[in-house]
């Protein structure tokens, strides 16, 4: 059976990102018939990722579009982020669920300031793996020297793989290039098919944010999706907030009884003791439980036109728990405008059991929500310790 890989694309407007995405979809035969009719020549490939009528008419960009393709080895969910306006907001959204990001650069221009910003955002969101797709190699005479200089020019906190391509001609996208015999590495698709993303959720400490309590004939089971780790029947666990300990009496994976479960399975657990557990609680192994806090420190990307200001009341949504809070401190002092990134301290009305975002991209993530109109204002990556 195949596995699922979530990836995001990034790149400046003219770097050929749309052509690359179109080429991936087209050459992996994932294009619907009505879309194919538009493709008269390779330069039309970008039309496959054409936006909505409303976007063209109103000159707006409705952020991230999701594309789907598959090979016998893997299913791919691709978050296609527009490269121009509001790139931070869009990239943050696309990168938040991505295990890998494909960053496209124009071989003639190399790594630009915007390339570095895109890489920084992907790094901030802790996307474990980055593919630097050096595009338009046909326009630099398929030059190994040009490619090597660009490949060496990017810093990234995770793993980087540079691939020389031409999205227009298809070289090294799905089929190996006949023009660059100096390159022995994988094509983009081969790499996506085989990439070890370095994100093994089961290696993390077990965490079960309780979503819903399933009640049957006096028995209560706590339903949630394991965000990390492996949970065993008989394991000693702690329920936060509160900190009461008990033992896992039983686990169901979507109705099937099991002796162990692992991330990202959706499960329901029964506990040996009758504790007060409701939506928003976190169940973790007693030995590796996170700490709790009411002083939440986070790096936030502000996503909303209405600026975030010190003293402002917000809601913090962390896993399945939403609590009232006040913005106590902003690193820069001033308000955070849309697409700004900054460090904040938020004082919450109740305890939150949090992990560092570097440890977990789920139990270390939060949203700041406007208590008035419910808008999502900021995306937060939590710091602990």
């Amino acid at each position: 059976m195949s596995t699922l890989l979530r990836l995001a694309t990034a790149g400046s407007v003219d770097d050929g990102k749309s052509t690359l995405v179109g080429r991936l979809l087209h050459d992996s035969k994932s294009v619907m018939s009505d879309q194919l009719e538009k493709i008269a020549s390779p330069s039309d490939l970008a039309l496959l990722t054409d936006g909505l009528r409303a976007e063209r008419e109103q000159g707006i960009t409705i952020d991230v579009a999701y594309r789907y393709f598959a090979t016998p080895r893997r299913r791919f969910v691709l978050a296609d982020t527009p490269g121009h306006v509001q790139y931070t907001r869009n990239m943050v959204t696309g990168a938040s669920t991505a295990e890998l990001v494909v960053l496209v650069v124009d071989a003639r221009r190399g790594v630009t300031e915007q390339t570095r910003r895109h890489a920084a955002v992907a790094g901030l969101l802790r996307v474990p793996s980055l593919v630097l797709a050096v595009n338009k190699m046909d326009l630099v005479g398929w030059s190994e020297e040009v490619f090597a200089a660009i490949a060496d020019d990017l810093d990234y906190p995770g793993e980087v793989t540079a691939i020389p391509i031409s999205a227009l001609t298809g070289d090294n996208v799905v089929t190996p290039s006949e023009h660059m015999d100096w390159y022995a590495g994988p094509t983009v698709l081969e790499f996506l098919e085989t990439a070890e993303t370095g994100e093994d959720l089961t290696a993390l400490p077990a965490r079960l944010p309780v979503q819903y309590v399933i009640k049957t004939r006096g028995r209560r089971a706590y339903a949630g999706q394991l965000t990390g780790g492996i949970l065993h029947v008989g394991e000693r666990v702690v329920v936060q907030p509160g900190g009461r300990t008990t033992t896992v009496a039983g686990i169901d994976v979507l109705g099937e009884p099991v002796t162990m479960a692992w991330a990202p399975q959706s499960i329901a657990v029964r506990l040996a003791d009758d504790l007060d557990v409701s939506r928003g609680a976190l169940i973790s192994p007693a030995a590796t439980a996170p700490g709790t806090t009411r002083e939440l420190r986070a790096t936030v990307c502000h996503l909303h036109e209405k600026a975030l200001t010190v003293g402002e009341k917000v809601l913090v949504k962390h896993t399945t728990r939403t609590v009232h809070a006040v913005v106590e401190h902003i690193g820069t002092g001033g308000p955070l405008g849309v697409n700004d990134i900054g460090d904040v301290v938020v004082r919450t009305a109740a305890d939150l059991a949090v992990d560092d975002y570097a440890e977990s991209r789920i139990t270390g993530a939060c949203l700041l929500i406007d208590p008035g109109d419910g808008a999502t204002r900021s995306a937060g990556m939590i710091s602990v310790g």
């Binding site: 009505d34 194919l36 999701y66």
Partner: protein
């Protein structure tokens, strides 16, 4: 040993979305058409809340021109569940909607009335992002105004697995648990889980007539003056009979349907670069797609 296949990952995600909705909203409802996507949604819901029953009712917008096989199937699988039916025919009978032959566009009013009457604040739909362009940008939690409208600029950025379901009185949220599934995923899941579907999803012989390149079966919407032919067909989607076309197919099992979908991709795959062959495949796929 502790690995997760793509189908298991998609199922776990859909269950997560349904549980979030059940946890955050007061009165969710699941749109159930008797089509494969809504059947898969119901199947995931039954597993997500087991051993308890599904904690929300189902809503069917009945156009009055449904396939009898689908209505029969609906009544069988929803026996014992709470099913609300919004009847387009009732609206037509009392003059609230015009009696036009193609009823697909008539469903909106009864749907919104039923959402309001039921006080539903969350409505599960089986829509998938791979279906078309506008859907590719749809959220998992899609905020709708009090007229059911979708304003792309009002949609919230959706990050990680944190779905923001806040809404004002009168507004509701459409929830799409199968957002990240493709048609092939749905069929692979149906095969893996041995899920029953209405018989018309599989090849059967039927008297049909050709309308603008698709096979329709006769009814109030036509087929009387037109030449009827017998064809072995199946339906790729099920909706209102007046505008749901059949595709010629010999696939009689989920496995054969998967092969059929996969085979059409292999044909395209063979066309490595020739635009002519791609155009041909496009025409062929268009015919297979029926009413698209």
């Amino acid at each position: 040993m502790t690995t997760t296949t793509h189908l298991e990952a998609l199922e776990a995600e859909a269950a997560h979305i349904m549980r979030e909705t059940a946890g955050e909203f007061d009165r969710p409802v699941l749109l159930f058409s008797g089509g494969k996507d809504s059947i898969v949604m119901l199947h995931v819901a039954a597993k997500a809340f087991a051993p308890a029953p599904v904690p929300f009712p189902l809503l069917h917008v009945d156009t009055g021109h449904n396939f009898p096989e689908v209505i029969e199937f609906r009544d069988r699988v929803t026996a014992g569940l709470r099913l609300e039916v919004a009847s387009v025919q009732d609206y037509i009978d009392r003059g609230a909607l015009p009696d036009v032959p193609e009823r697909n566009g008539l469903q909106t009013t009864p749907l919104l009335d039923a959402i309001e009457a039921g006080g539903h604040d969350a409505v599960f739909g089986g829509g998938r992002r791979d279906e078309e362009k506008a859907r590719a940008k749809e959220r998992v939690f899609s905020l709708r105004d009090e007229f059911g409208g979708w304003d792309p600029r009002r949609q919230r950025p959706e990050l990680w697995n944190l779905y923001n379901g806040r809404h004002n009185p009168g507004e509701h949220v459409r929830v799409f648990p199968l957002s990240n599934w493709t048609e092939l995923d749905v069929w692979q899941y149906i095969a893996a889980e041995d899920i029953a579907l209405p018989s018309i999803y599989y090849a059967h012989e039927r008297a049909v007539f050709d309308r603008r390149g698709m096979w329709l079966c006769p009814g109030a919407w036509g087929g009387h003056g037109e030449r009827l032919v017998r064809r072995t067909v199946r339906y790729r989607t099920v909706g209102d009979m007046s505008c749901t076309g059949a595709v010629e197919s010999a696939a009689r099992t989920p496995g054969e349907v998967i092969e059929e979908i996969a085979a059409s991709r292999i044909t395209e795959r063979g066309a490595t670069r020739a635009d002519d062959r791609l155009a041909e495949a496009a025409m062929e796929d268009r015919k297979r797609e029926g009413y698209f």
